[in-house]
């Protein structure tokens, strides 16, 4: 894929990934052919900041976990009332990192 398209993608979507991963992502995208460009553009990535807001407001119901795809853990969090509150607080700190990892996994499915 052309370099300026890749740069555009990274500028628009850099916040969805860990900053350490960006160089690797850029390399892989450059090797990718143009036909996948539309697929990449329409990928559904989760915004870590929005996930943090959701986690703080309704994290106790496990909604943050459901949204990033951890259905089983979400059910556990819901049933235990946010892990007696402890899991709720722990997830406030973890949720952004986990969202970024999940985004990376999704991207990998497309570009590998």
């Amino acid at each position: 894929m052309e370099e300026n398209k890749v740069d555009m993608f990274i500028m628009a979507n850099g916040k969805y990934f860990e900053s350490m991963q960006i160089p690797q992502i850029k390399d892989q995208l450059l090797k990718l052919d143009d036909s996948k460009w539309i697929m990449i553009q329409s990928m559904n990535l989760k915004d870590p900041t929005i996930m943090l807001v959701i986690s703080v407001i309704v994290g106790q119901l496990g909604i943050d976990r459901f949204m990033i795809g951890d259905t089983g853990l979400g059910i556990a969090k819901l049933l235990t009332c946010g892990g007696l509150g402890i899991w709720t607080i722990v997830d406030w700190f973890l949720i952004q990192g986990i969202t970024r990892e999940k985004n990376l996994e999704r991207l990998r499915q497309f570009i590998y």
């Binding site: 106790q60 951890d70 009332c81 007696l84 709720t88």
Partner: protein
């Protein structure tokens, strides 16, 4: 989530659950709806005063431990699921660890996929909301 990570996580959660329930079982006090000293830390309840869908779980599981099924259902029907899980999961995981299998892991993944279906998820959400509304009416 790898098999070992999952097993470790479930064992930790079950252990914490057992300690929590044991602590409550050792205290002899009467359960009163809205009695603050019984409750775990429910953020939603302390901020808004509205109970969450799983308020009453501790009371439900402790009454089940005493064998009172209908009382447990009244406190919170989800307590039955919790009780059954807390009993079967550690045994299942132990079996898997001894036999070097991953049947529990497969069960977990298939349950996740089951709930990811749109119709199942919608039914489950509706049930949780009904339970939530009932909790509110009970002044939990």
């Amino acid at each position: 989530m790898t098999r070992n990570k999952l097993y470790l996580l479930v064992i930790s959660i079950c252990s914490a659950g057992y300690i929590w329930i044991a602590y409550h079982l050792s205290r002899t006090e009467s359960f009163v709806a809205g009695n603050e000293s019984n409750l775990g830390f429910c953020l939603m309840r302390s901020i808004t005063g509205v109970p969450c869908p799983s308020c009453g779980m501790t009371r439900s599981v402790t009454t089940l431990a005493h064998g009172h099924l209908s009382e447990a259902l009244w406190w919170n029907p989800l307590g039955i699921i919790m009780f059954a899980s807390m009993i079967t999961f550690p045994v299942w995981i132990l079996y898997d660890v001894i036999r070097r299998k991953d049947s529990f892991y497969k069960f977990f993944i298939s349950t996740e996929n089951f709930f990811r279906n749109r119709p199942v998820a919608i039914i489950a959400i509706i049930l949780v909301i009904i339970n939530w509304i009932w909790n509110i009416f009970k002044f939990l």
